[in-house]
């Protein structure tokens, strides 16, 4: 049963409104800005720029894999540098930064009805340290020896040894320093997001009236604040091993016939620290996507999200559970095999709240009024790719099934589908959805549909068949698949096909970037609320929202975020700041 809250129940303001920092010059307004919206755009632009580098790296990898021996400049060293930087950039510097630094900064204050983040100055520092982290990362391309080629997991001992590109040069050092900087910068931003959600909400905005986008970003941020310290200490310890010759992760080693001056360290310890961060990281990327896609589906199907409370608890539950599943990345790492029983069980349990989310998305479509707008198309594509990638997770999470499949192309296909393609598709949907709020103009529809179809179908054609290469036994992280007895002739053709699709999908992203830039001036005027959405960011007096977001008075919230198609209401949506009961607002109490 759904409890009925009086629609106009609004608690009084507990604290006076905070004083807003006002910029004095062009520099403080657009460059060293303390406005979360400007910081969001800075984060997004930087993440997109470095993401383009990672995209180009993936092309280079696919050139080598699809057509081995054709491109002499892609040496084995270069190949490993490409995969390492591609992976690290995509996971940390693009996805994490864009979801939390980009969408978090733009949407949290607007959606909870705040004028800005609660610590605007620290928020600004967060971006500049992130930028510094990106620059340090990029500098490793120009350092002697090039960037590290240790794989994005940076497993020691090889990460800091001569046999790995950048291991005894600058590459690994710059990578570790960059990660440390990233974590420092992120922590500043992350504390802001958490405190703003907890303390900065406007009157009437109870936690259970928050849009799921905010729930997703909020929970992901809390997780990131708990998970990143593990990576931080791992980076510091490896840096000490590399620079000062300590042996946190380094046992006695004979390298090319020479005894190294290390001893007593544990390579497995690094893996535990890395994945204690690394697994929550998957959900740090996924939860904002879950939240955003819930709002996209609800808005564009003109229907309340189905099972809001269950959706909130699923987000929180997934967030908590994701801290006790990390060693499923280590089933064949040589850790004690009995861990397998525990981690397989926890890992498969996490499938239950995840499945509930999927059901609730598709049940929101059921008896909806589905507008097949571009954001909705991306939301549908997300469900397809996420369900596909999530289900192959049931293979890899089930410890004994992981044994033949781990370290093969099956894993590559799985994690690209579930945490590459699916979240990126949500990012695209979200950009098509919120671009009109950020710029005041719509993105071009024709280019958008072209971008959608090529990206969605192309990505599916890349990663779905790739699973079967892994099933065949083709290992990942090989720069050449020639001379391998398990690979049939036709499998090599499949591999070339995957490469060609990768170039096509990559090309579509350039069309998308063009659309982003072109539409700033030439897009159709959007108005304040083109999607007829209920949440507060669409109710701002100005579009794009001005400094301070909401004009003279902050909005007061009277209802949950999902009053679409309320029976008896004049229109098919009732914004959160509209008082009165057109009909009982049957929001869950």
């Amino acid at each position: 049963m759904v409890d009925i809250t009086p629609a106009d129940a609004v608690p009084p303001a507990e604290v006076a409104e905070m004083e807003l920092y006002h910029p004095h010059s062009w520099w403080t307004k657009y460059v060293f800005s303390q406005d979360a919206k400007v910081i969001a755009i800075q984060y997004s632009a930087t993440a997109t720029a470095i993401g383009m580098v990672a995209l180009v790296l993936s092309w280079l990898m696919r050139l080598q894999l699809g057509f081995p021996g054709t491109f002499d400049f892609i040496t084995p060293e270069a190949y490993y540098q490409f995969i390492t930087m591609h992976g690290m950039i995509m996971v940390i510097y693009l996805l994490t930064a864009l979801f939390l630094g980009g969408f978090g900064n733009y949407l949290i204050p607007l959606m909870v009805g705040a004028r800005d983040m609660v610590f605007p100055y620290v928020n600004m520092l967060s971006y500049w340290i992130y930028l510094l982290a990106v620059l340090v990362l990029v500098s490793s391309f120009f350092a002697p020896g090039g960037p590290t080629g240790a794989g994005w997991t940076l497993y020691p001992p090889q990460a800091i040894m001569t046999g790995t590109p950048g291991g005894q040069d600058w590459g690994i050092i710059l990578m570790l320093v960059s990660l440390i900087l990233f974590i420092v910068g992120f922590t500043m931003g992350g504390l802001n997001y958490v405190v703003t959600v907890l303390q900065g909400r406007t009157r009437g905005m109870t936690l259970m009236r928050l849009p799921l986008t905010v729930w997703g970003i909020f929970t992901a941020t809390v997780m990131a604040l708990l998970a990143f310290p593990a990576l931080f200490v791992a980076c510091v310890m490896m840096l000490l091993d590399r620079a000062l010759g300590t042996s946190f992760f380094m046992p006695a080693i004979v390298e090319m016939g020479e005894q190294l001056q290390h001893g007593g360290g544990s390579p497995i310890l690094f893996q535990h620290l890395f994945w204690f961060f690394g697994h929550p990281e998957v959900y740090i990327v996924a939860l904002p996507a879950f939240g955003i896609v819930s709002d996209l589906i609800s808005t564009h199907a003109r229907k309340n999200i189905f099972g809001y409370r269950m959706m909130v608890w699923a987000i929180v539950g997934i967030g908590a559970l994701s801290f006790v599943v990390w060693a499923h990345h280590m089933y064949v790492s040589g850790m004690h095999p009995y861990f397998g029983f525990f981690f397989a069980t926890t890992t498969l349990i996490i499938a239950v709240p995840t499945a509930i989310k999927v059901y609730n998305w598709v049940l929101t479509l059921w008896r909806g009024d589905i507008h097949l707008t571009i954001p909705m198309l991306f939301a549908l594509a997300f469900i397809v790719t996420f369900v596909n990638g999530g289900l192959t997770g049931l293979f890899l999470g089930n410890v004994v099934v992981d044994v033949p499949l781990s370290d093969t192309m099956f894993v590559v296909a799985h994690f690209h589908m579930v945490m590459g393609v699916a979240p990126i598709i949500v990012i695209f949907g979200a950009i098509y959805h919120w671009y009109p709020k950020v710029t005041g103009r719509m993105l071009n529809e024709t280019l958008g549909r072209f971008h959608f179809w090529v990206t969605f179908l192309g990505a599916y054609l890349i990663f779905f068949p790739m699973h079967y290469l892994g099933l065949m036994g083709v290992p990942r992280r090989y720069n050449e698949l020639t001379d391998m007895t398990v690979m049939t002739e036709s499998a090599h053709h499949l591999n070339s096909f995957i490469s060609i699709m990768a170039f096509i999908v990559g090309f579509a992203q350039i069309v998308f970037l063009f659309n982003l830039i072109w539409s700033i001036r030439h897009g159709r005027e959007a108005g304040g609320n083109p999607w007829r959405a209920t949440t507060l960011e669409w109710q701002t007096p100005e579009t794009p929202p001005a400094h301070g977001n909401f004009g003279k008075d902050l909005p007061i919230v009277y209802r949950w975020a999902y009053d679409y198609s309320v029976p008896g209401a004049k229109e098919d949506f009732i914004p959160q700041n509209i008082p009165g009961s057109f009909a009982p607002s049957r929001e869950p109490a």
Partner: protein, 271 residues
């Protein structure tokens, strides 16, 4: 309409690809068909869920697409439905997990009659050591590795003297006998992986890891390194030949023991 059709085509295409494409696992040559069976169970359960969700979505897109005058239903929650779906999912997950854990317990518990074989990985080659007549492998230490003693066998350990050392050459195994592979590395992480055997495990410098299997087919199988170990990683191939008992013994007879390898001068002068 087009969108609903594409969603249906994705399901149909994926299912057809699964059954009709020539890309499938390499024929098995060990006792781990249990693992293959678990994979098949997983394919069925996940395949049905994937098809059901995407087809349901296709139906919704077709049936509830926006047309003039449509209004969406207003239904915030449906506890009964949500509980049912949770229970059904939990049952499905259990159906995957239980056989998985059952097979895992077989995988980690080595039968008592398994013969120990040591694999030593280094950048970028495979070496092997088999117990001699005493049936025991001598202890080893990376600190003892040098040009004369490439595997770091501890010279003072009597058990190690008769160990058969196969340096950077092919490993032979007798068909039908369970073997416990003891895995060791002297430099970085490696992973001993033969796709036909299905089993694999990382090798960690400073530790000894293991897995076991029984080869069920004679033949030559390629060993791949499955853990990134530096720029020579993709070239780190090896060979396991599964022989009949007779051929295996013939091969074993030609191999040298640790004592023979480590003291060639003294041996020569004694003769």
């Amino acid at each position: 309409m087009a969108v609903a059709l594409v969603l249906v085509l994705i399901v149909v295409g994926s299912v057809l690809f699964h059954f009709l494409s020539p890309w499938w696992w390499t024929p098995i040559a060990s006792n781990w068909d249990y693992i293959d069976n678990t994979i098949i169970i997983t394919f069925w359960i996940t395949g049905v869920v994937f098809a059901a969700v995407v087809l349901f979505m296709a139906y919704c897109v077709f049936r509830f697409r926006h047309r003039e005058g449509n209004q969406a239903a207003y239904e915030p929650e449906n506890r009964r439905l949500e509980s049912w779906l949770t229970v059904v999912t939990a049952v499905g997950v259990t159906a995957l997990l239980v056989p998985g854990l059952f097979v895992w317990s077989r995988f980690v518990n080595v039968p008592g009659d398994a013969t120990e074989v040591e694999v030593v990985g280094q950048q970028w080659q495979w070496s092997f050591r088999l117990p001699g007549k005493d049936g025991k492998l001598g202890t080893s230490d990376t600190r003892d590795v040098n040009a004369e003693n490439p595997l770091g066998v501890i010279a003072t350990d009597a058990n190690g003297q008769d160990d058969v050392v196969v340096e950077a050459a092919d490993l032979h195994l007798p068909v039908g006998k369970p073997v416990k592979m003891l895995l060791r590395s002297i430099d970085v992480l490696h992973d001993f992986y033969v796709p036909e055997f299905r089993a694999k495990m990382d090798m960690i410098p400073g530790s000894v890891t293991y897995f076991w299997f029984t080869p069920t087919k004679t033949g030559t199988f390629q060993v791949l390194c499955a853990e990134l170990c530096g720029q020579g990683h993709p070239m780190m191939h090896g060979v396991v030949m599964v022989d009949t008992q007779e051929d295996y013994l013939a091969w074993l007879g030609q191999q040298q023991t640790f004592a023979q390898l480590s003291a060639p001068q003294q041996m020569g002068s004694a003769e």
